[in-house]
Symmetry: C2
Subunit: 472 residues, 2 copies
């Protein structure tokens, strides 16, 4: 079907949707929904939710206050959409599960794909899991229990068990006929949508993958072994989801086979689940860098307070450490109040320059772009950048200090301290994440607090120390 000029000229209907309509849930709609909910018209509430795509309905539920949300869940209870549950944010899902209760939850879970069911269940505690599993038919239960036996965040938790496989001796025609004419049992183990089929040997080991578009564009007599990619990526069931995401991105995959310890095909991971993993991993990085353990937008205030408290305690300790360093120089400070006024500048500039370096290094480590092969070159570069920028800012702040307090020596002292702290910042910003990574600690977790401790301590110590040495 190739375009002809004629076709194109025929166009006279309304055109594409306006850009804002690409995104579905609009603030006005949420406003209308809230009003209907307040009016108590349960039937209309149910209608409004059911008109939405499950992903949008999930967004709507997320934006509600906990009380309003419980009200909506109770209205939807008799006929709760399983896909809505799968689409919810983790915190909100916990809340919805609480409101639903374990019995109604079991009824909803039965209707989910094995990977989605697993995602909901893994958040429950063991007693609750058992209660829900007991209410689920044996077949589904076994699959879910197997899934729960794999380590958290592993390929085994991500995969779906429904896979389309063909033996090595089939051809295109046999494959298509098999797909068209399945028994009811076969239909039950077929995935809803799939993108590749896998060729397996008699021991059920995957030997090749065939994208559906290739199958569809090939004549019936061609053997599947002539069509398949034998160099496909095979994922062991226990591999970490972060590595799964890396491989999918590196190879532009839409699905990949998962194998057990014996190398046998036991499931596939599809791109939609990987996209969610990519988002999760990014979120984790961004939250940890910001000093938050996890996204707590939908958490209750008390939970949020406690979660953030522990991080702030660490920061209090490091801030007190910095104050102890300042305290070493109380005699010097007493002699000249200008030092107290200027000292936060050196520490702050070091902290900011170090954070810039740190951000690039943490991200590069996560993307596997910073490796032992180029680590020394990256550190060398950051030292150079710190040195250059240190000299520039030394001149700037030296001039400001001289002008402000009319004392050229004060300008020299703050300038020297600035150069030292900016170089230290460049060094610490690269070596701290590298060292944490070497010890198997996620560099995003603790890099920031180490860094600012170092730049604060060095900043105050060098500035006040030099002042004591040179000025008095």
């Amino acid at each position: 079907m190739v375009d002809t000029e004629d076709n194109r000229k025929n166009a006279n209907s309304p055109g594409p949707p306006p850009e804002e309509e690409v995104l579905d849930l609009k603030p006005e709609e949420e406003q209308v929904f809230l009003e209907v909910l307040l009016s108590g018209d349960k039937l209309r509430v149910r209608e409004l939710i059911e008109e939405l795509h499950p992903a949008d309905a999930a967004d709507m539920l997320e934006h509600l206050s906990p009380d309003d949300r419980a009200m909506v869940v109770n209205i939807l209870r008799d006929n709760f959409d399983p896909d809505l549950l799968a689409e919810l944010d983790e915190t909100v899902r916990d809340h919805v599960v609480d409101v639903l209760g374990l019995e109604d939850l079991a009824a909803v879970i039965v209707e989910l794909d094995s990977d989605d069911a697993l995602e909901v269940l893994e958040e429950l505690d063991e007693g609750e899991q058992k209660q829900v599993l007991d209410a689920i038919p044996a077949g589904d239960r076994t699959l879910i229990e197997e899934g729960l036996s794999y380590p958290e965040d592993s390929a085994g938790r991500l995969m779906q068990r429904e896979v389309v496989t063909v033996p090595t001796f089939w051809n295109v025609g046999q494959t298509i006929d098999f797909l068209r004419h399945k028994t009811e049992t076969e239909k039950a183990v077929m995935p809803g949508v799939f993108y590749d089929i896998f060729v397996v040997d008699p021991t059920h080991r995957p030997v090749g993958s065939i994208p559906l578009s290739r199958l569809l564009t090939t004549d019936r007599p061609v053997p599947v072994t002539d069509l398949m990619d034998a160099e496909m990526k095979v994922l062991p069931v226990s591999v970490d989801q972060e590595d799964v995401a890396f491989v999918f991105r590196q190879r532009d995959l839409v699905s990949a086979p998962v194998v057990d310890d014996g190398g046998r095909l036991i499931g596939i991971i599809t791109i939609d689940d990987v996209v969610d993993v990519i988002h999760e991993e990014h979120e984790e990085d961004i939250m940890l860098l910001g000093g938050v353990k996890e996204d707590d937008l939908y958490e209750a205030s008390l939970y949020t307070m406690r979660a953030r408290f522990s991080w702030l305690v660490v920061n209090l300790a490091t801030a007190i450490l910095a104050s102890v360093v300042i305290g070493l120089f109380d005699a010097t400070l007493q002699q000249m109040v200008a030092l107290a006024i200027l000292m936060p500048i050196v520490a702050s500039m070091g902290g900011n320059a170090g954070t810039q370096t740190l951000t690039v290094a943490v991200r590069a480590l996560a993307m596997k772009e910073l490796t032992p092969a180029n680590a020394s070159r990256v550190i060398g570069k950051e030292l150079l950048v710190g040195c250059f920028n240190g000299i520039l800012f030394a001149v700037l702040i030296g001039g400001v200090a001289w002008g402000w307090f009319g004392d050229p020596t004060l300008g020299v002292v703050i300038g020297l301290a600035m150069v030292v702290n900016m170089i230290v910042a460049g060094l610490a910003g690269t070596t701290i994440p590298l060292a944490l990574d070497r010890f198997g600690i996620d560099p995003a977790v603790a890099s920031g607090v180490f860094l600012t401790t170092i730049t604060d301590v060095v900043g105050f110590f060098v500035f006040l120390g030099l002042a004591g040495l040179i000025m008095f």
Copy 2:
């Protein structure tokens, strides 16, 4: 093909690859490559690169120093793999393009898909673009020129032009026959791999999409209109790539049609390009929050220095502002050196608590989870969290200050200042990103600097001001 117990027990071959082999490029391999490169064995260098998947070869090139990289590019020049060029990081690609020269570049670009060619070309300046385009055959040139005419970061830049379409009056059998038996011209405009086919009306407007797996599992006589999803998402050509990524994630899409202003189908966007966009957008957020304009891991030192300098200048200005605030209280400071020692603690705790709130808010805005509908509830919650944690830390630091300097009034002063600054931090951490977003500014850009300016100024002002009022 359902597993039988027999099959499973037959297993006796080596099993799955060990986990570390899931990722391809290993440090040892890079070391070997570097040694071969140093030995000057050009033939072996070429062999080693050609053995790698283009994505891994790209990683290898990225990790090399610029001089080594230029050497490798010159060795590969006669037979440069177009896919390797497409896989490279932007900064490294610029460098490789420089080394290749425009003439050799044109030869490589001709072999790329239209969307990849566009990605390489959009980074060149206009003069260079023209030179390369002139060296490319007319057909490809027109497609690329059209692509360049769409706004940067729009759906038009992301899409590939090669789409499979069928008319509304066809059935499954006709569609499969069409896919199998194409003329050479038709083959040229077929995508390499595809996941959905699109049903179009006579004016070439998309009316529905059919996943290939559904086409394959349906009998030949079924009309395509019975199979298609009529409620598919249609993307206008000028919609922003961030919104494209949002829709793909929300709807678990693998491909989506792009339409022009007349609503006619002109291309499709596939999930692999969307995954790259998701990474780009995340990278942008994380970098901006860290005070870096863009990922500069592979940039030269001088460029990096200049790029980071401008951000540090802003920070210098805000640090000086904070110092001016401290300067207002020089008489107070002169009376009691303990104030100078303790004052950074209040500012630092406010900065850290504010950054926690800010991180959650910026992320929630990017994910469209923070909306006008729940903004006031989120602000209220952050005020509450700030107030609670403020009181806790007031008690902690008040005790420390009393114990350290033996002055209970000093403890009360720093405690009060802590409560005020933590509440201000919670307020500023939510309202700053919301306000920037309202004015159409990416909240990740400037939120951090505004926040720490506020928490520094308030921290110093309230602590020293209260000390002056209460203690002297």
